[in-house]
Symmetry: D2
Subunit: 506 residues, 4 copies
Amino acid sequence: MAVTGRIDGVPSEVWDEEVLAPQFGYEAEALLPHYVSIEKVLLLEYRRMGLVDQEGTAAIAGRLDELTPELIRADPRDNMSDIFFAMERHVARGDTAPFAAWHVDRSRNDFQACGQLLSSRENVRALADGLIAFGRTVAARAAELPDSPMPGYTHAQAAQTVTPAFYLSALSEETLDAARRLLATYDGIDRSPLGAGSMAGQELPWDRERMAALLGFRQPQPHALMAVASRSWALGVASELSTFAVLLSRFTTDLMTWSGAGFGFVDFPDDLAGISAAMPQKRNFPVLERIRGRCSHVVGCAAQLAFAQHGTPYANSVEVSKEAGRHLREQFAALRSALRLAHTALATATFRTDRMREACEGDFLGAFTLANRLTLEAGVPWRTAQVIAGAYVRAAIAKGLTAATPDGPLLAAVAEEHGHRVPEPDALLAGSLDADKAVRVKRSAGSTHPDAVRAMLAAQDRGYQEVSGQWRMRAETASAAAARVDALLADPSTDSAAESTEGSAP
Amino acid sequence: MAVTGRIDGVPSEVWDEEVLAPQFGYEAEALLPHYVSIEKVLLLEYRRMGLVDQEGTAAIAGRLDELTPELIRADPRDNMSDIFFAMERHVARGDTAPFAAWHVDRSRNDFQACGQLLSSRENVRALADGLIAFGRTVAARAAELPDSPMPGYTHAQAAQTVTPAFYLSALSEETLDAARRLLATYDGIDRSPLGAGSMAGQELPWDRERMAALLGFRQPQPHALMAVASRSWALGVASELSTFAVLLSRFTTDLMTWSGAGFGFVDFPDDLAGISAAMPQKRNFPVLERIRGRCSHVVGCAAQLAFAQHGTPYANSVEVSKEAGRHLREQFAALRSALRLAHTALATATFRTDRMREACEGDFLGAFTLANRLTLEAGVPWRTAQVIAGAYVRAAIAKGLTAATPDGPLLAAVAEEHGHRVPEPDALLAGSLDADKAVRVKRSAGSTHPDAVRAMLAAQDRGYQEVSGQWRMRAETASAAAARVDALLADPSTDSAAESTEGSAP
Amino acid sequence: MAVTGRIDGVPSEVWDEEVLAPQFGYEAEALLPHYVSIEKVLLLEYRRMGLVDQEGTAAIAGRLDELTPELIRADPRDNMSDIFFAMERHVARGDTAPFAAWHVDRSRNDFQACGQLLSSRENVRALADGLIAFGRTVAARAAELPDSPMPGYTHAQAAQTVTPAFYLSALSEETLDAARRLLATYDGIDRSPLGAGSMAGQELPWDRERMAALLGFRQPQPHALMAVASRSWALGVASELSTFAVLLSRFTTDLMTWSGAGFGFVDFPDDLAGISAAMPQKRNFPVLERIRGRCSHVVGCAAQLAFAQHGTPYANSVEVSKEAGRHLREQFAALRSALRLAHTALATATFRTDRMREACEGDFLGAFTLANRLTLEAGVPWRTAQVIAGAYVRAAIAKGLTAATPDGPLLAAVAEEHGHRVPEPDALLAGSLDADKAVRVKRSAGSTHPDAVRAMLAAQDRGYQEVSGQWRMRAETASAAAARVDALLADPSTDSAAESTEGSAP
Amino acid sequence: MAVTGRIDGVPSEVWDEEVLAPQFGYEAEALLPHYVSIEKVLLLEYRRMGLVDQEGTAAIAGRLDELTPELIRADPRDNMSDIFFAMERHVARGDTAPFAAWHVDRSRNDFQACGQLLSSRENVRALADGLIAFGRTVAARAAELPDSPMPGYTHAQAAQTVTPAFYLSALSEETLDAARRLLATYDGIDRSPLGAGSMAGQELPWDRERMAALLGFRQPQPHALMAVASRSWALGVASELSTFAVLLSRFTTDLMTWSGAGFGFVDFPDDLAGISAAMPQKRNFPVLERIRGRCSHVVGCAAQLAFAQHGTPYANSVEVSKEAGRHLREQFAALRSALRLAHTALATATFRTDRMREACEGDFLGAFTLANRLTLEAGVPWRTAQVIAGAYVRAAIAKGLTAATPDGPLLAAVAEEHGHRVPEPDALLAGSLDADKAVRVKRSAGSTHPDAVRAMLAAQDRGYQEVSGQWRMRAETASAAAARVDALLADPSTDSAAESTEGSAP
């Protein structure tokens, strides 16, 4: 049985090997259940339009339910190695031949666009779940260490005293933000292309609103051309994945530094550690390099996807939908893997508070506070207070002192050189340079003060609850729609739309 | 006057030439007004906290108001070629010396982050205005040609009959979508970093909510570290620009094809045409190549920005804020230029409806309709109808026929070969292949039918009104905040917050 | 049996699933033969250094020869899911225990770097073969149509008359260039890392020159750190692949245009054509979209590889060698596929010379020649000649004339307007605008004149012979080295180096 | 005076502002001298072909010599804001009108391609000089510290003892390699497009070999279409810049780590240090962030350039030559800046050998040597030796020992547990773990042994001499060609080619 009268012959071997067969394999694996869902909704529409009765409907629905990746195979001769034809053939070979008008006024273009979107929506929901689970773990780890001082860094130099809780709560906040933004992205693309036809719309009175609802979409995609030609939605999703990957790579970079030589602030369990085959003293954490490498891949996939669409015609094209589309699939996989590794790493990391405290005490992280106090308590103009504090640090380093060994007379002398008298230099230094006090001296909202961090974690906890509720709702919409379709197929009496006299085919 | 006691000397010549002076120049040009706004808000806070009286406030505000790009200059000796110090110096050299505590408990980190965000928000608003103006022009051009047939293409082959209105309304729909998505992006990043300090928060009772409101932000950024370390917001903005640029490049590609040899569907006025210096017959449209080239640059900037952030520490860093940040600035400029060119091109393009109609008639764009009718009217099963229609096309081409010269007997003969009788083949062909009828045979929502396109354009018009209202509101928030700051600086009695006893400095 | 005393336990499940097992699988498939080659060379060195006798050598060599991807399996408990340990275990479990010093003074770092390089060299050679075969096919197709006029385009407008031979010979020339450049790239990276150890060099007197020669390398990599830390060589290879892919995408773009609606210059056989499932008149050539999509991927892989290395420490790292390294593997696969498709497409394409000629005659491609003649034969200053020729074209179009219907009096009138007399305007036009003459009027080296094209094709033919000879030599070097290793393992008496007393271990 | 008869009017304001005027400005600044060179060579050809006498030649040459960026201005009305027409106009307005045939048979296409190539060649030569100067400085710094132990790292953990000389000599080796590869890139693209005309070749007997020689090219570009359509050469250059930038970014990453908190191995002078405006203790090295940021930009430019060419027609196009071309210009600028900063940073860095030694002694970098010795001196099988050495390290850490405090009995006990007796455990440990000995225990070519490093540096020195000689030769070829052109213009009698009767115009 031919599928076309336009060309002869079967796909060439090269064409089949390089393109058709792998494409078929991918679609059978990843898109088949979505294609079946779509076919069922189309079938309901044919029934509604009076082109088939319930018996014919049930026969096709039954055949559709049999379809599995194992059942159908790419075959250049039988189905031109095209899954759409393979599905059509499977149905046609059932005991009951499908009704004559089956697939009339239909196109693969909106069908494929719809399948890709359903699959991507599913991937986005799974990713959101992963993000939320990750963020909650991070927040839980943060809550463990709200008071313990660690150096905060800028430009690779120790800058101010913070805490592990403060640092990790930033990662949690970013993750929560990402899970929220993804919600808007999801809603923005949650539009059904079905019923757009090849590109110009359809000729029968398909009910696009109803088809959208039966597939769990918020609404139909308004423009038929846009429905099949546009993959702006893929760019939107890819960008969000990329943005989060960049973020994750930055935190991973800090973990690489802090678990590495020179710091030793963070440790990971043996079952995540790598050894050297030859250097017996090594304990490596290649898991961090893997995370960062995969984040880089996630970023690269977004760039590739955009460039692969750039400069193509605004039309249905395999270059955009399939060739470019592969970058989105790879991106999901890469981020899922990076996130799983990062989740494990953060869940099992040990924070060496002893080493962090030691690092705080080895530097002069309170110099900013010292300058503040010189101004506020000793009336030194701020810029001069900066100069005095800086000059004290310099002189102290020259004398081999650290923050743990404050030298009041030295401060007094330095201040004197700059024309200022400091009343109680020892107290001033002690209040400024002590690591534990340094954590509590900050008082603004969002600061490293343990109370401020606790407040942020509490707000995040509410945020996670809310956002995961939102994602759950969306997952339920999808599954409820699928259940409704099966119910309608089984029992047309439940289908109020079918009663309508409007919109039935001529 | 030194600005630090930590290091000696002035920046080296190389460092100044390659980095500091150009950075200063950029900031003086693009960020200075925002920096002045921030300084004014800080000043209000110092007054509120009781660290300065109204006279001192007025003196500094006066000096701040004098600042222009022409007034301040990078100078390694005087200000370390740093605009923050240059501003500080300018104020310090006024007739009234600033109060001692001026700039106490302050940092450049949240200051710069805030300036960059204010500038980017402004750029985003300008871009949104540009998008809306562009989209409206496109919609207006679409409304001109709702009935005129043109070929719609898939895979570079003519596919179905559409209209210029249908095609252009897709561009308008995408543009409207972009203007809407940008709104969410804007709102998502409209958070003030001010008051985060260097990274750990601040020591005085700064009112972060109030500072945010005075700068026209929706809210403060909740986490101090995130406020200075994160540039996720830049990635979010850049992604939206990139997504639109990809889209624009695709429409531009079609315009290149349709204004080029082989088509001649679209023409541009002489003042946008390029000539050849040597080939006198040439009339080129390099404007399209320019648009596409700039779109490619927009896409590349987003990729570069992401990769420039990837793998950096999650910390305040010039690598992220300034080196990576340049890609965002370039991206705005590139998209602004591409959009301006595209706006001009689309506003002045001529659509050659004669040539489009001719192209429709030279092909068999109604074959889909023919197959539909074979099924619906002659009861031929759909797949067989496809084969018959395809075989008819093939046979007609072999005979040198086109859609404009239908051959009923040929159709009947072909159908017969496949075992089907077609009652009125001439009528069937005439109804299927006629170009004008083809536009009206589509009836689904979002289709190329003139009524459907009109409905879409009407909905878009409402969309543009709504979205431009939203953008206007955001612009007004920003300007109202600036006006409020100036009023508060002039007249403290209007400042209810200043009355509060809470939150004044020790 | 433990492999380390430094850590306990086995890799965690997540770590194994996400990283170790897939890595093992890849290496078993792609690198195992190379790893075996390296082990054999190391074994020869141990024998040469007197650490093992011939019997011990033969036992290990025998075990190594048994290794296949099927034999060894990732196993967290037995081999930490590391192929190096799996190979070590396999040898250790032979009937004869390996000598005590087996693997002494060895490292996985140079071992893995060496395996990756051997594999990449092999891929480069295969690619070069593919390029040469492709280029020769293109040149052969070019030779078929040296005289047939077709329009040459600039800025999407017809510019000058050329021939298919001229156009295709440019593709062949670029391909030949690529095959040549790849030779230099290959030679530049053909340096053995073996003997660099972990990073600092080795402690026994390994003969690095000899090991390099036995692996078929030109020389050892001079610096131990560079040998394990650098993957500049991968960037060099990736860049060449990207450059060729860009090129191929540009020719493919022309083929898309020329096989598309509006042109129809190029046709492909049915077995490469795609159909529409719904539009029976369609004959699509998605193969071109596939080629271009894969070329885009090749370009993206190079970008990703570079960015994945960027900002990493200059050290042996899995982030660079394995995570980034995957982009090179994918790139080879993508280009191989694109090239195979392009080869098939070009080998089977039909060039519709009738349509090309028609297009030439429908435009004024000879206007440049006309202007030239106005200057050279009628003494009109060049810029004025341009204006006259342009004005003639404009007036002729307005009158509905084409190049095939020259109008001497019109030319004379136009010239007159610009103050010049043209003696024989009809002859001038005829000589300038005729499509066949236009091909022969060009006479410079490298021009579209059939003789010039034949000369280029002849030079290319010599070029292909030379460059394929060069590639053959390199392939033979590699296989000769492998044969020599097996001979030496079997018969130590053939090993002159082993006789040397210098360089034996303490 | 019109320049064309094909279109009316002047470029629109938008077109001029966004595109033509900036393009003109760039070309006037960067390409004008090259354009003048080309015009002179063309003039010599016109004279040779007998189309102008020496007087006419001298008049035009004189006018050409007057051209400066200040003299010519973009003017939509006068020159269509096109530099080619502006130059033509300037010459035409001289006292002597140019001969009628001036610019006959010429095109802007090969002219512009030639100008771009001349400019890029110049940039490549300047970059090569910069690379060589940088590499020599690095090598000189390496030579200062051949014996001083520092930890070498893999996976962020200390791995083996190396020296600053060893590390820096790798950077020098990579730089030397880059300077060499660039030579091949240069030679591969050193082909003149001149004489290719618009795309199809030329009609007069231009001597393409001679024109190439007079412009200092090695040879003409063989194919006319390739000469104007291809920018593969730009991709080749861009790739080399990107590869070096990746490399430089990796070394910079190490410098960031080593000059940062936790290490303090490297220090930079105050005039390269950044301060904090608020944290008086900070001494930052933002120069490293700037270098890395610019390297990222260099990498991104190569990616952008490739993607901007991807999918364009293989034809002369402004999208490829000008829009895409800007990425190459930016890339040169970015790498020049990064290299200049890196040169300054490395020239002035201080290496803190005390801290490096301390770090060596705090770890067990000699464990590999220990395992080697257990095998070679105590006969312990290698894998067991690894386990014993690892277990010793673990036990020693548990006891709070470092490499500086070896514990023979502990080693003996650990070995015993694994069934081996170690005769002189104290001596074994001392010989293995001592930092200074560790540097000398490596003996392979390319190792960290001071003698091996000295040998590499000596070889590099020869390499720099050779490669800089090669670059000097290329610079001289270019300047000699320019001198020859001026001589020929002044005195036709020196022009042997002009005497030839062959090849004169009809």
